[in-house]
Subunit: 139 residues, 2 copies
DNA sequence: CTTGACCCTGGAGTATACTCCGGGGTCTAG
DNA sequence: CTAGACCCCGGAGTATACTCCAGGGTCAAG
C-alpha cells in the first residue's frame, strides 16, 4: 500500500490527475490511512496504465469507464455487455485501418523525401488515404 | 465552386467547424463571391476529409496543420520536414500496436462472453494489454 | 518541536475543438 | 418585393481532460 505521490511517479501521471480520475469514477483508492490519505496497491497502478493505453487508442474517459465496468462484471456477461465489446472492437479496427493508411502515406512521403531530386508529390498523403478507402465513423 | 453549406454537407462537418478550421489555418476557401461568400472546390472537400481521418487517428489540429504544411512544401523536402514525417510515423505505429493489443483483449472478452458458462476473467483486458508490452508515449 | 516533504479539499483556470447566438446582409422563387 | 434559405462576422458558451492554486493538516528526520 502506498500513497498518491508514489502511484503518480509509478504511472507518470500527476497527483491531480489521479484525484480527477477518482472524481470521474475511474479509480478508487484501495483504502485510506487514518489521516485520510489515499492508499493504493499494485492493481491501482495497472488500472491507471490501462486508462493511459486506452486513451492513447483514442478512447474518452467516459468510454474507458465503460470498458472498466464491462471488465468488472464477473457474471452479467450477456446482451449489452457483449454488444458494447463488439462495438468497441469495430471502432478500434476502423481506427487501425485509418492509421495504417496514414502510416503508408507517410512512408511514401518519406521515400519521396529520400531522393531529393524529386519534388514531393502534392497529394501523396491524401491520395494514399483515399486509396485506403477509410471510413471515418460519424459520431 | 460551391458555398460553405454545400461543403459542410459533402463532408458531414458543420459550417461553424469549417469557419473554425479556416481561422486555425487548416483550410482556405478556393475563392470568395462578390458578396463575400466563401467558395470551395473538390480539393477543399478532400482536405476536410483528410483532416477528419487524421483526427480519427489521434492527431490534434495543430499536428494536422503540420502534416498539411509538410505535404504542401513542394521543394523544401529536407531536414526537419523529413524528420517530422518519420516522427509522426513512429507515433502512429506505436498507436497501432496499442490498438491491436486492445482489439485482441476485446476478442478475448467477447470469446469469454460467448460461452456463458464461464464467468468473465477479471483481468482479461489488462492482462492482454500487458502481454502486448505497449509503450505509452510520454507527451 | 520545527522544517520540509508530503497529503487533503474545493474551486478557479487552461487548452482543445468545437457550437451556438445575435444582428445583419444576400439571393432565388413565387 | 417579400419570404425563406442561405451567408457574413464577432463573441460567448460548452465538453473534455486536465492543471494549478489557497489554505490547511500529517509525518519522519534532525
Amino acid at each position: 500500500m502506498f500513497t498518491i505521490g508514489k502511484l503518480a511517479s509509478l504511472t507518470s501521471v500527476s497527483n491531480d490527475t489521479l484525484r480527477y480520475y477518482e472524481q470521474e469514477g475511474l479509480v478508487e483508492p484501495a483504502g485510506k490511512s487514518p489521516a485520510g490519505y489515499r492508499l493504493y496497491d499494485k492493481d491501482s497502478a495497472r488500472r491507471i496504465r490501462f486508462i493511459k493505453h486506452a486513451q492513447n487508442c483514442g478512447f474518452t474517459l467516459a468510454e474507458i469507464r465503460d470498458l472498466l465496468v464491462l471488465r468488472g462484471r464477473d457474471k452479467a456477461c450477456c446482451g449489452d455487455v457483449r454488444t458494447r465489446a463488439v462495438e468497441k472492437k469495430l471502432q478500434i479496427e476502423s481506427k487501425i485501418r485509418a492509421m495504417k493508411a496514414m502510416s503508408k502515406a507517410l512512408d511514401q512521403l518519406i521515400a519521396d523525401c529520400a531522393n531529393e531530386t524529386q519534388p514531393v508529390n502534392e497529394c501523396t498523403i491524401i491520395a494514399a488515404l483515399e486509396r485506403a478507402n477509410v471510413k471515418t465513423p460519424v459520431h
